[in-house]
Amino acid sequence: MALIDLLTKKKSVIVSRWFDAVLESYPQETATFMKSQKNRFANPVGCTLAKEVEDVYSALLKGSGDTEITPFLDNIVRIRAVQDFSASAAVSFVFLLKRVVRQELGKEIKQNDLTDELLAFESQVDKLALLSFDIYMSCREKIYEIRVNEARSNVHMLLRKAKLICDDPDSDSEVG
């Protein structure tokens, strides 16, 4: 049996363990809430995490490319990029998948001598982590961009009055 078959067969338990592992980065009462409240408008963080770890996992099994996987990772990382996490903690959820797979399939992997396949799978996961880090950085950059735009928008008319921005909407050029 190939590793991919095992990963497919055990999909639901692996995804659910992975989700649980991700929730461990939150305080216990929050983890309980995020897991139990199924209404996605009452619990956007929990529901997004649950959905997207599954999407990411399915995409991995399908061998999807970066472009397909990025939106799923983005939905997770975008949230964690504004929560109180360091950069490493924000993207660490990816590596947890390795731990879960080893825990769930460790025995079968040994029995079927699938160590090479496991290593290959784990490099896939490492690639996801790099991808997540790029997404994290782009989210942080976006936040700074938003801050600058907002600071300007809030005093838009004052800048215009001080002739620091141009009156003519057809011209993008700015003076000052």
Binding site: Y26, P27, E29, T30, F33, M34, Q37, N39, R40, F41, A42, N43, P44, V45, T48, R78, I79, V82, Q83, D84, C139, K142, I143, I146, R147, N149, E150, A151, S153, N154, V155, H156, M157, L158, R160, K161, P169
Partner: protein, 478 residues
Amino acid sequence: MTGSPNWYEIIMTGIAERLDKYRSFKLFLDICVRWGACADKCHFYIGSGDPKNMPVLRAELLRSIYRRDFTTAGKLFGKFAGGRKLTPLIIKEWFYYFYQCTECRRCSVFCPYGIDTAEITIMARELLNLIGCQIDWIITPVANCYQTGNHLGIQPHAFKEILDFLLDDIETNTGVKMEPTFNRKGAEILFLTPSGDVFADPGIYTAMGYMILFHYLDLDYTWSTYASEGGNFGFFTSHEMMKRLNSKMYAEAKRLGVKWILGGECGHMWRVINQYMGTMNEPADFLEVPKSPITGTVFDNASQIKMVHIAQFTADLIKNNKLNLDKSRNDYLKVTWHDSCNTSRGMGFLEEPRYVLKNVVNNFYEMPPNTIREQTFCCGSGSGLNAGENMDIRLRGGLPRANAVKHVHDKHGVNCLGCICAIDRAVLTASMDFWVPGVRVAGLHELVANALVLEGENERTTNLRGEEIADLMEENEE
């Protein structure tokens, strides 16, 4: 804590005074049974996952001090009764968490006792203020509003010049020249709006909308450059400051000798007027009960405050068929509606804005029921949190609202979020930019004015933002 060596006494005396003065404060501290029906209802908790952002635990930060030093059980049993001694660390904790509460009252909707955690936050901030712990984004606007008249401290002549710019833009985009008046004694109506509508993008398009509507109606109104701030930043500071800033608007109405006040699209201005003014300042007896000069409708609901919200005023105009509206001019927009906490939960304004909206746009989609009306999610940046340095906190607090917008954006292609609050117009723009790019934020009267057919208007090929409508229609079809 070095600034106030006797900070401990100041806070303790402050608590005692407020327990005596505000019965609601004492009641809310006493009756919570801590079973937590409110716990998971706060947008800051939902977005951050930090348990101290659960309303029940937020209140507990202050309640625990109260319990130890102000209740009999606490005095006898101390920490066994759940009490804590006030320490500098607790002051820091207060500062952190009471400035992560936007005083939106969502939690109070779910509390079986109706405990309003916003009231506890207001008290905690008032106490912090006593020892000089305050944020610049609140205290500077307060000083500016009090001394000059608006949150940026813009002088009267500059205020007028800025509105002149907006009038130029109106003329460019509609072909109609308008000439509102300023500080005019004897006008029938004084118009007051948050100054964000005058200075900030996209609020300015709403301000243009007001002026277009009033021109269309030939309304006998005046702006004031002295009371040029409708928003009450005192509300985020202390009851005393809220009272002073509120009284300023009425003093100006008295000075100008107007009959009543019309208020623009603002949230906390309305919460202060409807929730607090009655017991704070004298009744405005020198004004008349507002009566629309166009429809003759008497706004009995405003018989005490003598001030009408523009959404109500416009809804009445539409109901009485007084506006010539061409909704199709807004057809490039697919709009959803954000109920701003202060106007919806704070004063029950649920139908009027929707009624107006449905008469000026063809495409309107509601967000899911547990995220609108009384249960609306806060923008995440109200009550003075809208400073740029709070952006992370704001974005996580704004997540539940944005998440519901994302849903209608994905499902129906919604590209516009409407609201009637100046803070919302500013901060939801940032939130959308991060969470749901492609959704613009617009005030109700921007949409009204774009649909309003004016006498002597040009082809109206551009909207108030100066964008080509044909291009936008095309983009939307793609």
